[in-house]
């Protein structure tokens, strides 16, 4: 082929690059590995992840739930995972119809009217919601109330730093664990009130009351959900009056995978549809009246609007959104209810058992879904590290990771994957470790 192009060497292909910019040596990366060697290398690294196979009660924004076997089979079909963004609808209807179903499911679960085709994850979805509230209301203050996931708060802070948005925090009520009353912070410059429910401490917020407060000053209510399984049991953000609902979709059939790829859910009211960031799929018809689906309302997007776009997002989390869609359709109406109920029941059982332990308490009083804070009689980080080494149990998240002023507290998460025997051995382990 080189010859046919009138070239004598592969190097000539790069003649348009000035010679002094061309790399005159080999890259200092490894020599090529065979499949056998490569797999052995990664298996060895994986074995270095000592926590991967432990009984775990770690949640805090990423959850261990059962993933039906069919999810991975479907997303591993060549037709799905090796396709691009569906720019050519005639040969992309598989992806498009799946996303349309995803959007519908997100609406159903969040109780909202429109949803997009996905955001990077829950944290960036929340940041985009804040930016959208500013666009919608043309106001510049945002009140984040209660215990929002600290990493989500970090991400919002990064996103808004140059957007002329003032971010204000309403504190956590030390007794209930819910947000304290934000009324004093709300005013007619407030674009949005942001709340997470269940919040970072596992407490369910009174979202409906907060919605009223936000609306009373003309602000939007943004609700974030990190544990999307809770939507199977708890009143939806939409039903509570949310204007924008975002969620981390990882709980819907997506492996923990050390933090990603996950998928951000983003939903809002129909009237804000043209302010939504990211991709949207809509129904369309060909000239013979056959139904199909297309990417739509593209004029919001960067490839048309450029710097005036509703967001810079382009590639999103298509395949993970597909995984979530397969998960939701497989579990279905009854499965989602059951898994949510099991989480709540098992978590309540664990909390009851731990509350009985000498020296331990469950300090926060608000209703919970599947996570709760435990206060231990000693430093939580040491306690949990004991539990890991002696009992091969990851007992939860020491809150000191984010809150140095809470050395003795840790966050426990219980899902349908935790058997009663596992919960009992957690309780037993805590007992032993404090003896």
């Amino acid at each position: 082929m080189l010859h046919q192009l009138g070239l004598n060497s592969a190097a000539e292909l790069f003649d348009s690059i000035p010679t002094d910019l061309r790399l005159s040596r080999d890259l200092n990366t490894t020599a090529a590995l065979s499949e056998i060697e490569l797999l052995a290398g990664f298996e060895k690294l994986a074995a270095g992840n000592k926590a991967a196979q432990r009984t775990s009660f770690l949640g805090a924004g990423a959850y261990q739930h059962y993933i039906p076997t069919i999810v991975d089979h479907i997303i591993s079909r060549s037709e799905f995972f090796t396709a691009y963004t569906p720019y050519q609808p005639e040969i992309s209807q598989g992806t498009l119809q799946a996303i349309f179903e995803f959007q519908t499911l997100v609406c159903q679960l969040t109780g909202m009217e429109v949803a997009n085709a996905s955001m990077y994850d829950g944290s960036t979805a929340l940041a985009e919601a804040v930016l959208m509230a500013e666009r919608v209301t043309k106001r510049s203050k945002v009140v984040a109330c209660g215990a929002i996931h600290p990493e989500y708060l970090d991400v919002i802070t990064t996103y808004v730093q140059h957007a002329g948005i003032e971010l204000v925090h309403a504190p956590v009520d030390a007794q209930t664990g819910q947000a304290s009353d934000p009324t004093l912070l709300l005013d007619n410059k407030t674009a949005a009130l942001v709340v997470q429910s269940p919040n970072f401490f596992g407490c369910i917020e009174d979202v409906a009351a907060l919605a009223d407060k936000a609306h009373s000053v003309g602000a939007l209510l943004i609700v974030a959900v990190t544990e999307a399984i809770s939507l199977g049991l708890l009143k939806s953000p939409g039903a509570c009056g949310a204007d924008i609902a975002v969620a981390e979709g990882q709980s819907f059939g997506v492996p923990l995978s050390f933090g990603g790829p996950y998928v951000g859910l983003f939903a809002t009211r129909e009237k804000y549809a043209r302010q939504i960031p990211g991709r949207l799929v809509g129904e369309a018809f060909d000239k013979d009246g056959r139904r199909g689906f297309v990417l739509t309302l593209a004029t919001r997007e960067q490839h048309i609007r450029r710097e005036k776009a509703t967001s810079n997002i382009c590639t999103n989390e298509g395949l993970i959104a597909l995984a979530a869609t397969v998960y939701l359709e497989t579990m279905g109406r009854r499965g989602l209810q059951e898994v949510a109920a099991q989480c709540a029941q098992k978590s309540a059982y664990a909390a009851r058992r731990i509350a009985e332990l000498a020296g331990f308490s469950i300090p926060l009083t608000a209703p919970r879904f599947n996570e709760f804070v435990v206060r231990a009689p000693l430093a939580a980080k040491e306690l949990l590290s004991c539990l890991a080494s002696d009992g091969n149990i990851t007992g939860g998240l020491p809150l000191s990771r984010y809150f140095p002023d809470r050395p003795n507290e840790f966050l426990v998460c219980v899902t349908e994957m935790n058997s009663r025997a596992q919960i009992d051995s957690l309780v037993e382990g805590l007992t032993q470790a404090t003896k």
Binding site: F14, G259, C314, P367
Partner: protein, 524 residues
């Protein structure tokens, strides 16, 4: 027989309703273990007004085999890399190795919680560290953050780093005067959108008739004194290497700005030239392009941000570092770098902050590292050579029939236009649609915006000569059809399950979700 291989055939293809239209009350597709703790009345656990009151109405009720058939059927409506060449310019649709998929599913990675104590996640952190080292070597830029989830996210990160650097360098007053980001007219839309997110206003630089950045215009804009930086794609979106890149960097630097390079086109450079050596300050990579992580019908991606030593303090936190070592970033990492102690480093007060929860799209990092290691250093260079060679081959094959607006030899992708075909009323869109009938995914169309009727073709290294010849043959055949039978092309595609959809009508009255038919509408 020859044409038998070049055109598609029609074959049966199942229809499938929306899952909501298939739902039947009472069907289930799941089974959970029975609840093994004493069940409490729900009312004892949660106040009534916190509970859902819609019984999840509308969420589908189907069996497992329903779900399988639903998605398997729908999947057959897609085109994919595994079915053939997917020459979307700027998208680098290369083969996604099955091995990499297997690596990402190793339970020790797939089952690992991101908030695991670092001491118990050393293998996972080693992967991040090793990949950082490799990307630093490949780009010649030592500071790497793998946190961004896609290219645009990487851009935002990079531009924020520029802003933070200038804010720190110039102080409040000085930096307030530098709020302009220069972006060529050929740039991808994410560039200006990302610049905007960081509070910059955008000024557009013209391209020359050669398809390169107009240095005069650049100098002019830089002279204003408000320039924070330039966002340049290289090779640019016309597939041409900006051969004045060093001069460009000098001009911007002299004007007090920094140079951001959009690395979406790194597939033309890996192993051959390094942005860091060109004078670029910060770039993003698309692991889902150059490093073969699958596109997945629209993601997930991974858009690492790579920068100079000077900009490193501004990278997002946490950074993944190896404790107590001063190993220069350029030094190669071995496949099994575990002996050392990897940790999270939050102590970067100048950091722009976090751009995403946890560590980014970790699963994509595993795949990209596997790609780098299976190719090896020579394999990476060979892939680049093949990608450029293939584009060059197509460029040569199509010049007789299609207008090639720029004369310079292209790198990994080549742009043509519909100029000759428009005479008969056939446009780029029609050519693209007709290509479907020949069994190919269309190229990228109408991008870059500066080329009227652009067709941007990127074959990548994942096609052999047979397929390249078939593609060229298909395009030339369409060129003939455009003359002899334009209607054929105008009404394409002819072989797909649906025809062209009315996108304008769809946007006018958008239907963005399924809704149950109201009782009255429903069939009896």
């Amino acid at each position: 027989m020859k044409s038998d291989i070049t055109k598609v055939t029609s074959h049966i293809n199942p229809n499938e309703a929306l899952i909501f239209e298939r739902s039947q009350p009472g069907r289930i597709g799941y089974r959970l273990p029975p609840l093994d703790v004493d069940e409490q009345p729900l009312a004892d656990l949660l106040p009534q007004n916190f509970l859902r009151n819609d019984d999840l109405e509308g969420v589908p009720e189907v069996s497992e085999v329903d779900v399988i058939r639903h998605f398997v059927r729908m999947s057959t409506w897609n085109y994919s890399i595994d079915q053939g060449m997917y020459p979307l310019g700027s998208c680098t649709m290369k083969y996604n190795s099955r091995l990499n998929e297997k690596v990402a599913r190793i339970p020790g990675f797939a089952g690992l919680h991101p908030l695991t104590e670092p001491a118990d996640a050393q293998g996972a952190l080693a992967v991040i560290y090793n990949l950082q080292q490799d990307l630093a070597e490949i780009t010649g830029l030592p500071g790497i953050s793998l946190q961004p989830a896609a290219g645009a996210h990487g851009e935002m990160t990079g531009v924020m780093i520029i802003r933070a650097y200038i804010d720190a360098r110039d102080g409040e007053g000085g930096s307030a005067k530098r709020r302009t980001m220069l972006i060529p007219d050929s740039a991808h839309g994410t560039n200006p959108a990302s610049a905007h997110l960081s509070g910059f206003s955008v000024k557009t630089i013209r391209s020359t008739s050669e398809g390169l950045t107009d240095l005069e215009h650049l100098r002019e804009l830089c002279a204003v004194g408000d320039v924070a930086g330039l966002m340049l794609t290289n090779p640019n979106t016309l597939g041409l290497f900006e051969r004045n890149i060093q001069e460009i960097c000098r001009i911007v630097h002299d004007a007090g700005g920094l140079v951001y390079m959009d690395g979406a086109n790194m597939n033309a450079l890996v192993g051959v030239a390094r942005p860091g050596d060109m004078g670029v300050d910060v770039i993003h990579l698309n692991l889902h392009k150059t490093f073969s992580t699958p596109h997945g019908g629209g993601g997930p991606g991974c858009g690492p941000c790579c920068c100079t030593k000077e900009l490193e303090p501004f990278l997002p936190v946490p950074r993944i570092v190896r404790s107590g070592t001063g190993i220069p970033a350029g030094e190669s990492s071995s496949a099994t770098e575990t002996a050392a102690d990897f940790k999270l480093d939050f102590n970067h007060p100048q950091s722009i902050g976090r751009v995403k929860a946890f560590f980014g799209n970790y699963g994509m990092m595993l795949r990209a590292l596997a790609y780098i290691q299976t190719h090896g250093n020579d394999g990476l260079r060979e892939a680049t050579e093949a990608a450029v060679l293939n584009a060059r081959y197509i460029a040569q094959g199509l010049t007789s029939d299609f207008e090639k607006p720029y004369n310079n030899p292209p790198m990994h992708e080549v742009v043509f236009t519909d100029k000759r075909q428009t005479r008969k009323g056939v446009h780029t869109l029609d050519i693209a649609k007709r290509l479907i009938d020949y069994g190919f995914h269309p190229m990228t169309i109408y991008f870059p915006l500066i080329v009227p009727g652009a067709m941007l073709i990127e074959p990548t290294e994942s096609v052999g000569r047979q397929e390249l010849d078939q593609f060229v043959e298909a395009m030339r055949s369409i060129a003939r059809e455009a003359i002899e039978d334009p209607e054929l092309v105008l009404n394409a595609p002819h072989t797909t399950r649906i025809g062209r959809l009315d996108e304008a009508a769809a946007a006018r009255k958008p239907v963005l979700r399924w809704k149950p038919k109201r009782k009255a509408d429903a069939a009896p």
